[in-house]
């Protein structure tokens, strides 16, 4: 469907729906630019996307199959005098590599009483049929590489009696029923699995932008509830708020006092001792007589820097952490409900509301460049339509070889796990944890781990979704599998013990977007390149990049001014009705009487409503 043709004239054409591109789209539409926003893929958010479990399996398969061969059409007939073409390529070409899937969940439901066997057998056949073998094969092709237990060959008739690897944990264990692979598939839509793993600093530039632009009305957030660190093979909670510090049982009274004094002085921005200007932060911490414990917390979990980060940068990171703390809760971080993939989409929605035209599964084949002016005059879309534009914004992946020739490839190693319990069980099952694993503890590089619970709407109830990220040394599997084996229960784990079991895991490498881009390397001056996700925990890089690009395109315009509150809009030829007036003076507040669903809507409203970030300190 949608054979409709696109208009042939825009101010800004944007290719790729990653975070930076989407922010640029929203910002340009917001100030009245005619924006065309395209993505070759069938989904939003590029490498920032989140997928349901089933969609992730399809994505994995697509990555493994490699890109479809491009039809090298000759568009030169569309050229006028003095014009030349720049060809674009497929963005998926090499941004994702070394994909490895390990499935540990049993194929069938375990612990089924004998009497119910017939029934399960029927069910499992049904499930095997309904879920479609296509995706399963892709997952299983990889399973061979690891001696994953409980992977009976699919395609054969599932035989219930045989496939009871967990028979030891008999029906006498009423507390937990192991979740099977079939269940993961069946409940697949309850997962929203992010390709990147990041958090929002409560006072970071993304949160500021969401509030300032009113894009925050499209999404909801959860607090990260605790900060953990992995040390000497143990997980410890990092005390960061005053309450935490005093409640901590790991810290002595002296340590508590020292930590409080240090944090307080840090946030007051007292002049840094100039003696440390050329010294690493770790040395600075050492000299504060904080003790090894506190130094570890401050360096790895609060500042989240390395041993050789300069003192000034270390202090800045510490301050950033402390300032974000307590704005929304007892940790400095927020996580978007339904996953990070929502965020670029929210900016796309804002762009569409202000007239941006959206078209997925639609790409740009080449740019038409005016040779004399060295400016991009128009693009030719994948259907051969010439679309003129004043500016072209593009995700770097579409520039293909152009970028990889000139820049060394740096990679991120990622692991995504679906587990059956939390790494650190507590009173509440609904914890969102940020875990720092310092370099040298298990892996060569520092590993950031985020554990999400089902109330973030990223995994099915009874499971946790664990994201691990580090700078690559080897492949993702080489970098991270050892840590996974140590912190979680897999068949490879040496000693048994009450660790969470991994039901399913995915390893892959992703190109690191912090590598300096291809800007200016022979590209026309009105072509603006956005990089993909990088390895940091925050979103500063992409937001800064988007703002810079916007300023280059529209130097005199405001970046993302607040969108009007729908309740305040007065339409042409219409006198404000009494109800409209009432609405506009209302103050957003929580409805006591409303049920769960209503509450969500109520909050939605609250976020878009009369909020004034300035009020908040």
């Amino acid at each position: 469907m949608a054979a409709e043709d696109l208009p042939s004239e825009f101010d800004v054409v944007i290719l790729g729906t990653g975070l930076a591109e989407s922010v640029v789209a929203a910002a340009c539409s917001r100030v009245g630019q005619r924006v065309l926003h395209l993505d070759r893929r069938s989904y939003y958010a590029a490498n920032w996307a989140s997928f349901t479990f089933n969609a992730l399996l399809t994505w994995i398969q697509e990555q493994q199959e490699g890109p479809q061969p491009e039809q090298g059409k000759d568009w030169s007939s569309l050229l006028n005098d003095g014009e030349e073409l720049i060809h674009l390529s497929n963005p998926d070409l090499d941004s994702i590599t070394n994909i490895q899937v390990l499935s540990y969940a049993s194929e069938e439901d375990e612990e089924v009483p004998d009497t119910a066997k017939e029934e399960t057998s029927a069910n499992s056949q049904l499930e095997a049929e309904s879920t479609g073998s296509r995706e399963e094969e892709s997952a299983e092709a990889e399973e061979e590489s690891a001696e994953a237990e409980a992977t009976n060959t699919k395609g054969e008739e599932p035989e219930v009696d045989q496939s009871h690897p967990g028979a030891s944990s008999g029906p006498s264990e009423p507390t937990r029923k192991k979740i099977s692979y079939a269940q993961l598939l069946k409940e697949g839509r309850r997962f929203n699995i992010d390709l990147v793993s990041k958090l929002l600093f409560s006072r970071g530039s993304l949160v500021d932008l969401l509030i300032r632009s009113n894009v925050s009305r499209y999404t909801e957030f959860k607090n990260v509830t605790r900060i953990l660190t992995y040390r000497h093979g143990n997980l410890q909670q990092v005390p960061c708020s005053r309450a935490d510090v005093f409640a901590s049982r790991q810290l002595s009274v002296v340590e508590k006092r020292k930590l409080m004094r240090f944090l307080t002085s840090c946030i007051e921005e007292t002049e840094m001792d100039q003696a440390y200007s050329s010294q690493p932060y770790s040395k600075y911490l050492q000299d504060q007589q904080l003790g090894e414990n506190l130094q570890h917390f401050l360096l790895h979990s609060i500042a989240m820097v390395t041993e050789d980060t300069p003192t000034e940068a270390g202090l800045a990171s510490t301050r950033h952490f402390l300032r974000s703390l307590g704005r929304y809760g007892n940790s400095p971080f927020l996580f978007p409900v339904y996953g990070l993939g929502e965020i670029p989409q929210c900016f796309c929605r804002m762009s569409a509301v202000f007239g941006g035209i959206y078209c997925l599964r639609h790409s740009v084949s080449c740019l038409i460049v005016d040779k004399d002016a060295n400016r991009c005059k128009a693009v030719i879309d994948s259907r051969g339509q010439r679309i003129s534009c004043s500016h072209f914004v593009v995700e770097d992946g579409y520039l293909g070889s152009r970028s990889s020739v000139t820049t060394p490839t740096r990679l991120l190693s990622r692991a995504i796990l679906i587990t059956d319990s939390s790494v650190l069980p507590s009173d509440s099952e609904q914890q969102v944890s940020m875990v720092t694993i310092p370099p040298g503890e298990v892996c060569q590089s520092a590993v950031k781990m985020v554990e999400l619970c089902s109330s973030t709407m990223t995994c099915m109830p009874g499971t946790y979704l664990v994201h691990l990220t580090c700078q690559s040394v080897g492949s993702a599997f080489e970098d991270l599998s050892q840590l996974v084996t140590k912190m979680f229960q897999t068949p490879e784990s040496q000693e048994p013990g009450g660790r969470p079991s991994v039901l399913w895991s995915l390893y892959f490498n992703m190109a690191d977007g912090s590598v300096p881009g291809v800007e200016g390397q022979g590209l026309p001056s009105n072509v603006h390149v956005c990089s993909g996700p990088e390895g940091s925990l925050d979103h500063e890089h992409s937001i800064k990049q988007a703002e810079l690009i916007f300023q280059r395109i529209l130097p005199d315009e405001e970046f993302c001014p607040p969108a009007p509150n729908p309740e305040d809009i007065i339409y042409d030829g219409e006198s404000p009705t009494p109800s409209a007036e009432e609405d506009s003076v209302k103050e957003a507040g929580q409805q006591e009487e409303s049920g769960g669903d209503l509450k969500e809507a109520g909050q939605q409203e609250e976020s878009g409503g009369d909020l004034n970030p300035q009020l908040d300190q």
């Binding site: 307080t264 409900v337 929210c346 929605r349 009007p564 507040g589 509450k599 409203e605």
Partner: protein
């Protein structure tokens, strides 16, 4: 400032092919206008109307697609926290009816499980051009366990009824679900004035 002046707030989301009259339905209901062409739709995220049902004030927040349906590119987040979906087609356009299963697949993927879906056949003022028989649509709606209604945004037929019926249904469901209250998410902008530093000062 006083508390909110309503008992319920619902988010209603419209979907369906381009040109079936989604925006017209919203504008007719919220502003009594047709055609809606005059006023700017640019920059309008959703429309609000507060109605009273059996003595209870119900605020309806009605979201439109912002044109993203034109090229089949609606963001998933659009569906996320909808309480109700109005799936619209044009009774004079067979194609818009044939696309319904595709829309239902999207709903199933991204919308909340408990979302109330109503199928609406719009443009009954053009009955002489009808391409989709009422019976066919009713059967389809029944098979998908949706409510069904035919409307004319132009003549204002059944438009009020559509939204009021939905509101009644949503209230009924809300009263049923009252018990399962999920925990609340912190909201942006809801920032606490007690910052970390403030904590330190209180001794």
């Amino acid at each position: 400032m006083s508390m909110e002046d309503y008992d319920y707030l619902f988010k209603i989301v419209l979907i369906g092919n381009a040109g079936v009259g989604k925006t017209c339905l919203v504008r007719r209901f919220t502003q009594g206008l047709f055609p809606p062409g005059q006023g700017a739709t640019i920059g309008v995220d959703f429309m609000i109307k507060t109605v009273e049902i059996k003595g209870e004030k119900v605020k309806l927040q009605i979201w439109d697609t912002a044109g993203q349906e034109r090229f089949r590119s609606i963001t998933q987040s659009y569906y996320r926290s909808a309480n109700a979906l109005i799936l619209t087609y044009d009774i004079t356009c067979e194609d818009s009816f044939r696309c319904l299963p595709e829309w239902l697949r999207e709903i199933e993927q991204y919308a909340n499980n408990q979302v109330v879906t109503i199928l609406v056949g719009n443009k009954i003022d053009l009955v002489e051009k009808r391409e989709v028989l009422r019976q066919r649509a009713e059967d389809f709606a029944e098979a998908q366990s949706m409510l069904y209604l035919e409307t004319s945004a132009k003549e204002s037929d059944n438009v009020e009824k559509l939204f009021l019926d939905l509101a009644c249904e949503l209230i009924r469901e809300a009263k049923q679900n009252k018990l399962d209250n999920g925990d609340t998410a912190p909201m942006l902008g809801e920032g606490k004035t007690i910052s970390y530093l403030n904590c330190c000062n209180v001794n």
